[in-house]
């Protein structure tokens, strides 16, 4: 058969070149590992408590709440959208729960509902916000960046509005649990964060649903033509992101035993930085949950090392930014491809 004659020729021509590319693509997931190791070594030299269990738990716990936003954003980014409003959901969802359940009298609480309602309310607010975003973006075809930017401002404003700018405290016990409980001696929020990321790795990497997300992010028309229900997948992604953000906010509220009117403000910068440093593309279809995890881990390790090193406060930020850029350049060198 003619094809048989042909195949070996191209085989040799191609096999030599494409194997390494496949390997590199896989490696890109681990692009930040060298940077993480480098920071760990520097940290240990700077201050020997860096690698102590206590300090590592401190790092993980501090990042656990924001990391849920990173997970949420990764899902949305992979599907080719953006959700800036996550940072506001992070504050508003537990804020609404506190508003309705915290006894009247102390601060702005209304005390309308018993404390046990707080967790369902938090998650419901997350669902609702995700659904509004999805309605405007998927159903009405509005630009996702600008819809969620608008939502960010509205939701932040709503939290200021219901709280009158004050912090909610005396939260019901159920709101405190996730942010303050210890499971096997380790904060529950760490377990939760690790579990959800593991779930995210499976979801995006090994399920039908996850592959649909990549397909939509990579080429939505091709996904549609291949029979993927793109609208439905996008709806669930946006709603899921809202729920994750609400859950992260709940953990943060439990951790701080309060909901500040400014909870989450400005977090979206860190979230994007973590996701993008971790290899998640802004144009969809690119990046992994594991990469995003290394991204947020790196950022918080840098913060921790700078704190332990006792860098003068006014220079901390400049150093932090410089290290991020260096990490980026390094991951560019390891990744080896022009980024976009």
């Amino acid at each position: 058969m003619p094809e048989q004659t042909l195949t070996p020729a191209t085989e040799t021509a191609t096999s030599g070149r494409e194997r390494p590319r496949v390997r590199l693509a896989r490696l890109r997931d681990f692009a930040l590992i060298p940077a993480i190791i480098a920071i760990a070594v520097v940290g240990q030299i700077v201050n020997p408590i860096f690698l102590q269990g206590d300090n590592l738990i401190n790092i993980l716990q501090t990042m656990s709440e924001i990391s849920l936003l990173v997970l949420a954003q990764t899902i949305v980014l992979v599907a080719g959208k953006m959700d800036l409003s996550l940072e506001s959901t992070f504050g508003l969802a537990p804020g609404v729960a506190a508003w309705l359940t915290v006894a009247a009298g102390s601060g702005a609480g209304l005390g309308l509902l018993p404390g046990a309602w707080s967790i369902p309310i938090t998650l419901a607010v997350g669902v609702l916000i995700g659904a509004i975003n999805a309605l405007l973006i998927v159903r009405f075809g509005l630009n996702g960046f600008i819809v969620t930017l608008g939502m960010l401002i509205v939701l932040r404003g709503l939290l200021t509005g219901i709280s009158g700018g004050q912090t909610f405290f005396n939260l019901p016990a159920s709101m405190l649990y996730l942010g303050s409980a210890l499971w096997l001696g380790v904060p529950a929020s760490i377990w939760l964060c690790l579990l959800l990321f593991a779930g995210g790795v499976v979801l995006l990497g090994f399920t039908k649903y996850g592959r649909a997300l990549y397909a939509i992010g990579g080429n939505v028309d091709a996904a549609k033509a291949a029979g993927i229900r793109t609208d439905r997948v996008l709806w669930t992604a946006l709603v899921g992101a809202g729920v994750l953000a609400a859950l992260g906010g709940l953990m943060m509220s439990g951790h701080l035993a309060s909901v500040a009117a400014a909870q989450g403000d400005g977090a979206i910068f860190t979230v994007f930085a973590a996701a993008v440093i971790g290899g998640v593309g802004l144009n969809g279809g690119k990046g992994t949950v594991f990469g995003a995890f290394t991204g947020i881990l790196l950022l918080y390790m840098i913060q921790n090392v700078l704190t332990l090193a006792g860098v003068p406060a006014q220079w901390i930020q400049a150093l932090n930014g410089t290290i991020i850029i260096v990490a980026l350049v390094l991951s560019r060198l390891t990744g080896g491809k022009v980024q976009d």
């Binding site: 191609t14 494409e18 590319r21 039908k208 990579g218 033509a225």
Partner: protein, 505 residues
């Protein structure tokens, strides 16, 4: 008389090597194009033709070797203007900027400026309108180019390249997206320019076009130069053999002999209408039957095929697939009813470039890859390997992103995606666009094989090669089926019908 050894070639590439990572796209290859020649460059998908084009137009530097224009070394890469004086090009990959208007795309970076250095939009628009009118292309030049269809976009590219007044023009598969009438218009124009002494380098997978307008042909195979000769000296079979690297030629004529038509009806279309595109269409396809849907661009064939595949919802009428009526406009429903689909434009709707061959090929059958929504990587790769073997996709493995494949192989991946679901009905729109002759023969062979297994096939195309294996041909013109031809039709009948000439007249 074609080759005057003493004369300096207009353009010459010598010993050019180009690697992408460890890929060798060109291996000490070369070409000599003499002034006034129309030089064909042929080779199978991935042979390195487009890579040579990008080197000849100064978009990339070769790793080794050099390019000379009229005996002089080529300009520096940064000196884009110097390159543009020497060569104009229609690239294989679209260089249309979708956000800009048609007018501006035509005169990109060559705007007319007034004394203040400002763009004269009015003059630009008028020139653009005149230019397109000369090609009988009727589009409003103020439209964003992204809203044109593939064929119109291709014309904008061609018009632009030919309007430079360049003495050397490269056309990399200009005809892949054009229908017969449009190709005829293009060739008329090329002949006129040939008479003015313009030199062409012409790339196409339609070999009859080479014989029609080229005088010299160069064949590349596996990144190497194989031969250069006058077209007249190289019979069709030998040309194919040179491209494929084997003695066997192409099987000529209709290869379809035994029609294994079954009794069942896999597609029943009744009274279908869709806006301006087509009206009151009705036909049936039986098990194992291959039906062609011929028609020029704008005849409604593409829209009709897309309606059957669930990509569009008709305004009225029904589509029944194997006894089920899928929800109009729902691809998942159509898929569930047993439709496999190869869309018109593979880059647009065919594949997700960053995802692997395995993921793309199995995109239509996620449920077969594992239980409870999970995907077993091993099962997916096994299925993908079967498809890769089945369609002879040239790849080191199923994990390669589709964007790393050559055009023809990308098209095979799109075929694989359609076949993966073991469809009852296969809907193919211009399934072999940009595919080399051998691969084309092969893909169509696969279609026949699938039909032999009891699948009904609908092929919407204007390429006679694609339609030759059909048992029956429906010809569309201006949104209506104007003729139905049984196997054994003559080419000229089909062409005439597609152009709206009544056969019985």
């Amino acid at each position: 008389m074609a080759d005057d050894q003493a004369a300096t070639p207009l353009v010459e590439a010598v010993g050019v090597t180009k690697r992408y990572g460890e890929t060798v796209a060109l291996d000490r290859a070369g070409i000599r194009v003499m002034p006034g020649q129309t030089h064909a460059l042929v080779g199978r998908n991935g042979a390195g033709k487009s890579t040579l084009v990008s080197i000849l137009t100064g978009l990339q530097a070769p790793d080794e070797g050099e390019v000379r224009f009229g005996g002089e070394p080529a300009p520096r890469l940064a000196d884009r203007d110097a390159w543009r004086q020497r060569v104009a090009c229609v690239y294989q990959k679209s260089t249309i900027i979708p956000e800009l208007t048609v007018a501006e795309n035509l005169y990109l970076h060559r705007h007319d400026l007034n004394r203040l250095g400002l763009v004269r939009w009015g003059a630009l628009r008028r020139k653009a309108t005149e230019l397109l009118a000369g090609w009988s292309v009727d589009v409003d030049v103020r439209l964003p180019a992204g809203e044109l269809d593939v064929e119109q976009r291709q014309f904008v590219e061609i018009t632009r390249a030919l309007s430079f007044g360049a003495r050397f023009i490269i056309l990399d598969e200009p005809t892949a997206q054009l229908d017969a009438a449009a190709i005829a218009r293009l060739f008329t124009r090329i002949r006129a320019l040939q008479e003015q002494g313009v030199t062409f380098l012409f790339i196409s997978h339609h070999l009859q076009e080479i014989y029609e307008i080229c005088d010299t042909v160069t064949v590349f195979r596996d990144a190497r130069h194989i031969l250069t000769t006058t077209v007249a000296d190289l019979p069709h079979a030998e040309l194919v053999a040179a491209m494929a690297g084997e003695a066997a030629g192409l099987a000529e004529g209709p290869s379809r002999t035994a029609v294994t038509r079954g009794p069942g009806v896999v597609l029943d279309v009744r009274g279908l209408s869709y806006g301006d595109a087509y009206r009151e269409i009705g036909f049936r396809i039986q098990t194992g039957e291959i039906v062609g849907l011929a028609g020029a661009a704008g005849s409604g064939r593409t829209e009709l095929a897309e309606t059957v595949a669930g990509l569009r919802a008709a305004d009225s009428g029904t589509v029944e697939v194997a006894g089920r009526v899928p929800r109009p406009g729902s691809v998942p429903d159509a898929l569930a009813a047993g439709v496999g689909f190869v869309p018109r434009d593979r880059h647009h709707q065919g594949f997700v470039p960053m995802m692997s061959i395995a993921d793309n090929a199995t995109m239509t059958v996620p449920d077969r890859l594992g239980e409870a929504g999970l995907i077993s990587g091993r099962r997916r790769d096994r299925l993908a390997r079967a498809l890769i073997d089945n369609l002879a996709i040239k790849t080191p493995g199923p994990g390669l992103p589709v964007m790393g494949l050559s055009g023809g192989n990308q098209q095979k991946v799109v075929m694989a995606r359609a076949l993966a679901s073991d469809p009852r009905l296969l809907v193919l729109i211009t399934p072999t666009a940009g595919v080399d002759v051998k691969s084309k023969e092969f893909l169509l062979g696969k279609v026949e094989e699938t039909a032999a297994g009891g699948t009904g096939v609908l092929i919407a195309s204007d390429e006679l090669d694609d339609l030759r294996l059909c048992d029956r041909l429906l010809v569309m013109f201006q949104g209506r089926v104007v003729a139905e031809l049984a196997a054994g039709w003559h080419d000229h009948d089909v062409v005439a019908a597609m152009e709206g000439v009544r056969l019985d007249a």
